[in-house]
Subunit: 150 residues, 2 copies
């Protein structure tokens, strides 16, 4: 009797752990969707009002060219809208792990130019974007291999 | 009888799916370890022989400055060893999703300089590194926020 109760308890524990893992996976897929939509509203539509619905109580900015917070994003999108209205960001890959979503992006400010390779990291809390890091590199004219940057 | 058999089959199916998810999570943790060790052997120890043990049957290179394949990595590590023997790469964050591992890195070629922010994406097959993308950006002297690039 004790043995079977212990076995049941162990099985219940294992199931709970497995179910928690499945819930994590589901949350990560949901987080990817949040970031992809946020990116589209912000970088392509350049619509701060629409993009800001995806932001949490803070937007901690690590891009060294952007001021901190939602106001920094607003200023940046206004700049894009005025100077590069036809700029386009195409997400090539999206990953999620824990509270983080990572996107690999080809961003072109003026159509017909090579543009930049960008990898962004977003942190989410309660399905909202709260922090952002990125690394940006201009795509060179010539490369030492034929594989492209994506 | 049929009803309970169906219920059992459904439970078994759900358990199989949950267990597969758990196996994926375990593989992703193992992949992170592979990439962190590969990075240390390659970029810090600059030991191509040791690093090459982590490579699979190919090493498809998307960094535009590096020639394709394991030979390209060998050439690059030789260059680092000769020109920047004290260069250090510090992994700040590591993520995994599916077959991919992503690392956010602070790389300093000459001690005392600001260095570069780098995000690398590695693809793994059978726990071996087979493909690499990265984006590299020099850390600027001044920034529009006080959060740092990491």
């Amino acid at each position: 009797m004790i043995r079977s109760t212990l076995a049941l308890a162990a099985a219940a524990f294992a199931l709970t752990a497995l179910a928690a893992g499945a819930a994590d996976a589901q949350q990560q897929e949901a987080n990817k969707k949040v970031v992809v939509e946020f990116y589209e509203k912000a970088l392509n539509q350049k619509d701060f009002e629409a993009a800001s619905k995806y932001l949490g109580s803070r937007y901690t900015q690590h891009n060294p060219n952007a001021p901190d917070g939602p106001e920094g994003l607003k200023t940046f999108l206004q700049f894009l809208k005025e100077k590069f209205p036809n700029s386009r960001s195409e997400i090539k890959r999206v990953f999620a792990d824990g509270d983080y979503v990572i996107v690999h992006v080809h961003a072109v400010r003026e159509p017909g130019t090579r543009g930049n390779a960008i990898i962004d990291i977003f942190k989410l809390e309660n399905s909202k974007v709260v922090e952002h890091w990125d690394v940006v590199q201009p795509i060179p004219e010539k490369a030492a291999n034929t594989n492209g940057m994506f």
